[in-house]
Amino acid sequence: MTAETIRSSSSKQPRPISAVVGITLGSLVAIALVVGISVGIGDMPIPLSTTYSAITNKLGWTMVQLNRIHETVIWEYRLSRALVAVFCGAGLALCGAIMQAMLRNPLAEPYVLGISAGASTGAVAVVILGIGAGAVSLSAGAFAGAFAAFLFVALLSNGARGGADRTILAGVATSQLFNAATSYIVTTSGNAQQARDVMFWLLGSFGGVRWPEFALVSIIVGLGLIVCIFYSRVLDAFAFGDEAASSLGIDVGRTRIILFALTAIMTATIVSMVGTIGFVGLVVPHAARFVVGPLHARLLPACAVTGAVFMVLADIASRTLIPQQVLPIGVVTALVGVPFFSIILYKLQRAS
């Protein structure tokens, strides 16, 4: 942030439209660039220009002659994967920011409501117990499990009436319960290979995602982003707690239901698709807050962009850190994220 933007953000006048457009364009270019780099990296390196031409060809803007294999690899595998990473990163970061605001807890993240634990129970129920007899996919099982856990938390925390602390406790208890169920199923019914498969899935992978996954996640996260931004002033008003928000005219119960359900849908969709990728939802909101400040009208878009870029970079790292092997993405987000987060913590400490 330059001195100029700091001054304009604190002055009385709202930020001029041109600055908003400029920042939006800059963010989109940054995302496009990391997606282009991600598409280019792999066993078969593809230059950025080829990727660009392949996209413009497909859109019918150009007719550049390209290597057919390149075009197939770009379209069938890498581009959809990179774009899914964009929306998953954006979605998890957004959900983390909303949870931190609603629960007024810097440790809150998308999985505090037991969604990841529920998803893993659902996944092992399908993979190991064979529930659904092959008609139910792992993703569908995970989604169902995630939502079951969310409803259980809602029940435990007394719907919308429980306060932030009670919601967190309900989430912790629910996570323990579902994790225990997962462990029980794996140890009593699973064989070693199944246990390994489940483990890999739990840590997150963009391996199997294609265009149908992209369509789903882009719609869910895209709509989620729009709804969140409408709620940005409401989230600001939660800064001093539920009672203060209520005295400013907010229907706290209704807002909690809407925003928790929204994050549950976004998180469950992402988890059921790519597994429980940790750390993004916890750290990206803090990093974004460090740069743009605590007001949600700026924080939420900043989270979406930072989360998207971070996730694509993590995906690149997961494919390149160890030759011939793909690391679980959750391992990379934590390995890359923790040192980065330490720097922020250190700087925050010095600033205060």
Binding site: S10, R104, D236, A239, F240, G241, E243, S247, G249
Partner: protein, 253 residues
């Protein structure tokens, strides 16, 4: 009538916290709410601000039942300052004060000149203009309290409800906050611990004990030696102050 409460009852579980309380506040007057710790002052203020629904009884704002008014409409006229409202978000003073404009803006409307004027006026009145860009975490206790008051003023309320607003303030800021609040052309209901301040600044006083109102009236009527002994368990002499003619309480050792 600005606020009127009829036979309010509020309970936590089976314990009665507010017990059959009725009161009226006339437009523009300053009503002091006194009582020992745990007498139900905070609960009563929350009921009056519409933050809790009474178990029995009703609250009328200008003759309208508060239970039938939308939350946002209540917030457009009633501002409430909690006792210990803090945040871990690193908001600036002006951001906190701007929260007061929330009930006056729709979800889609932009920031208007009227919003700006209200925020600047609130900062001016609370002497926080020079601190408008300072971070919440860097403020002293008194500055935080004045920021809350500025936020409440930015709501442009008709009724202002304050729960022990002078806690943690030094004596200068206690006096200037009370003077500011009582000079405002709004109805204010203030829970206070300092009886001499209550006598100096409030038009009328209500005294609570164990959830009930045990005395009400002008400071002269309410602050008697007997009441101080019965309700607050202190021995004191009460006499008109030679400086401001309001009752002054001399506590005995």
């Amino acid at each position: 009538m600005s606020i009127r409460a009829d036979n309010l009852v509020w309970k936590i579980g089976s314990k009665t916290i507010v017990d059959d309380v009725s009161l009226t506040a006339k437009p523009g007057e300053t009503l002091g709410l006194l009582g020992p710790n745990g007498s139900g002052k905070t609960s009563l203020l929350r009921l009056l601000a519409g933050l809790k629904r009474p178990v029995a009884g009703q609250i009328m704002l200008d003759g309208q039942d508060i239970g039938r008014i939308r939350r946002r409409a209540i917030a457009q006229r009633v501002a409430f300052i909690e006792q210990h409202a803090t945040t871990n978000a690193n908001l600036k003073v002006v951001d906190v004060v701007k929260l007061g404009r929330f009930p006056h803006r729709s979800m889609f409307s932009g920031w208007t000149n009227a919003d700006d004027a209200a925020v600047n006026d609130a900062l001016d009145r609370t002497e926080m203009t020079s601190k408008r860009n300072e971070a919440w975490q860097s403020l002293s206790g008194g500055e935080k309290q004045r920021t809350h008051l500025a936020r409440a003023l930015a709501q442009v309320p008709k009724e202002l409800i304050l729960d022990e607003p002078t806690n943690h303030l030094d004596v200068h800021h206690q006096i200037s906050l009370l003077r500011l609040v009582t000079d405002l052309p709004v109805t204010s209901i203030i829970a206070l611990h300092d009886l001499n301040h209550a006598a100096m600044f409030c038009d009328r006083l209500l005294v609570m004990q164990a959830g009930k109102i045990v005395a009400s009236g002008t400071p002269e009527d309410v602050l008697t030696r007997e009441l101080l002994r019965d309700v607050f368990s202190v021995e004191a002499h009460v006499s008109p102050s030679p400086y401001h003619a309001k009752p002054h309480i001399h506590f005995m050792r």
